[in-house]
Amino acid sequence: METFLQQTLNGLVSGSIYALVALGYTMVYGILGLINFAHGELVMIGALVALQTVTLLNAAVPGLHPVILLLAGVAVAVPVCMAVGYLIERIGYRRLRNAPRLAPLITAIGVSFLLQTLAMIIWGREFHVFPQLVSTTPMQPMDGVVVSPLQIFTIVVAFALMGGLMLLVNKSRLGRAMRATAENHRVAGLMGINANGVIAATFIIGSGLAALAGVLFASNYAIAHYAMGFTPGLKAFTAAVLGGIGNLPGAMVGGLVLGLVESFGAGYIEHLTFGFLNSSYQDIFAFMILGAVLIFRPSGLLGERVADRA
């Protein structure tokens, strides 16, 4: 029972981060029908820019409160990621909107590797220690279950952001424009919506969320690295597909479910396979889920069967 609760908690923490990243994939897919392969790299850029800011600020003004450092890191990382996200859309994808399907996808892969290489040039190949700005001192609410303030913080921030995004999409003018553009961007244009602006806004919002997810991710694993965005990016994509790509609540549910499955899978895989496979196989769960969902229920958990956009 304790293991169960502990794994649930761990799953919720990583799941809420996946959900934040998955939202970016699903928003872009909903509007453009494009898998923004480079989205995972924004997680990495967010983490590394925040780390850089914190390091510089700490060196310039020693003894600042960790919360101020964290806020400063986020305050720089989010706009930087937003700018990068905008540039990706403007330079890489906009011209290819009517191109054959493979073209934007290959561009996206290229952008992803370009960002990784640039990060490698700027920050080097080594792993950087990400400072613990929120306490990780474990607390024990009950026997055998350990939770840290950082974990609670992660879950709370992620849920607050998701709530904010839902409000934005469902209640605001921009949100309505986004939904209209997703429906059909030519017709939305005829209704006086600036479709290009809305698409750019979608990329910017998604990138901002990715930056925050990056900071949370790096805080939880206490590490930042030029290639750190790839795996969470892939898993978040899986989460988006699992929930029904293009569907916002789906991305959140998908993220949480994926986090839980992974956490339980890693916890129990040794028993399930009689010791043949161990927790170093954790990463294959995401791919297996992805495969299974795409084969058996391509529309995802919450997705309705939308018309084939192919």
Partner: protein
């Protein structure tokens, strides 16, 4: 906008007479290693690897260029071929089978892996397929990395070494051949062995392209629904594309293991899949000549960078700002982006008759 650039005619100087072109290419292919030898042995090695990549690129081109299925896990088949060779011809399990058993077996296993991957993904559209194949490649790599316990199968991240070289009719290609007093380098022997494989592959693929199967693939690539409507068994044809493409990967992988004498999971990372994909994107998806040119260009690139970019940076800045490996990744990723934006059909575009023009699918 894509159609205009794909229809771009080549500059007249390139399109010289086919009767001149063919013997010239053959002569170049035969003489290349000798010229390279004069420049140093390391260049012959580069050529050997270039031929392995050509084989890979030809195989991936079957899947991506001909059938229009974007496969990002292609390197997994290369890995299957390489590990098959490593298992069956090395001291690791103490099995030493000859190449004419190991190579076909590797190809067969790779083809099976291709079918195993193709079967569940048949219904998936382009971009989903890309991600699932990517996941497949990663799963294979994770297994290679971790299957050293509880039973040691792959020897984990350390990989398997002292793999048997390619031995044809008693001739060990890893040793220099002493022919009437002339020393023929092992690298040259491998070159011509690989060249034979590549030539065979080219002939096979050219025949395939104009066959019923090749035309069916082109139809599926251009419009799957229409292809189905005219009676093409799209399931069968896609599976065939996966299996055949994988076979090339498997053969190439086996040759790689024999040539290198060592395999480890590191050689089969996602980056390698991307590199092979860039080769065909750069050269021209669907066009055999383009794919070959792309493969050779990108294999030579790191060597060229090492020889020219490093001294140039030293001269300009007094130190190496970007090491060749980083520079290579930078150029590869830029090549993918720029090619898609500026010249999506590649340097040597496929014939426009078969060109990819499904604007409706956008």
């Amino acid at each position: 906008m894509t159609t205009t650039s794909s229809a771009l005619p080549l500059p007249a100087s390139f399109a010289f007479d086919r009767r001149v072109q063919r013997p010239l290419v053959i002569l170049l292919a035969l003489a290349a290693p000798l010229i390279a030898l004069a420049m140093g042995k390391s260049w012959v090695r580069v050529l050997d690897f270039a031929l392995l990549y050509v084989l890979l690129a030809i195989g991936l081109n079957l899947v991506v260029g001909f059938a229009g299925l974007l496969d990002l896990g292609y390197i997994a088949f290369y890995a299957v071929g390489a590990y098959t060779w490593a298992f069956l011809a090395s001291p690791h399990f103490g099995i030493h089978l000859p190449f004419w058993i190991v190579l076909p077996l590797g190809a067969a296993f790779a083809a099976l892996a291709g079918i195993a991957l193709g079967f569940p993904t048949l219904r998936l559209r382009g971009d989903y397929l890309a991600i699932v194949t990517l996941g497949f490649g990663e799963i294979i790599r994770i297994f290679m990395n971790n299957l050293n316990q509880p039973i040691n199968i792959t020897n984990g991240p350390q990989g398997i070494d002292s793999i048997d070289p390619l031995t044809i009719a008693g001739l060990d290609l890893s040793r220099d051949l002493d022919l009437f007093g002339f020393q023929i380098s092992s690298l040259l022997l491998y070159y011509y062995a690989f060249l034979a494989c590549v030539v065979f592959a080219i002939i096979l693929v050219r025949r395939l392209q104009i066959s019923r199967i090749g035309r069916a693939w082109a139809a599926i690539r251009d419009d799957e629904l229409a292809a189905k409507a005219i009676g093409i068994d799209t399931r069968m044809m896609k599976l065939l594309a996966f299996a055949l493409g994988a076979t090339f990967g498997g053969v190439s992988g086996g040759l790689f293991a024999a040539f290198q004498g060592f395999v480890s999971p590191e050689s089969f990372s996602l980056m390698e899949s991307i590199v092979v994909l860039t080769m065909i994107v750069l050269g021209g998806m669907g066009n055999l000549a383009g794919v070959i040119v792309g493969a050779i260009m990108l294999t030579a690139l790191p060597e060229l960078l090492r020889h020219f970019a490093v001294p140039m940076q030293m001269a300009l800045f007094g130190k190496t700002l970007l090491d060749p490996e980083v520079l290579r990744m930078l150029l590869l990723s830029l090549a993918m982006i720029v090619m898609m934006l500026v010249r999506p059909a590649g340097l040597l575009p496929a014939r426009t008759r078969y060109a990819h023009r499904d604007r409706r699918n956008a």
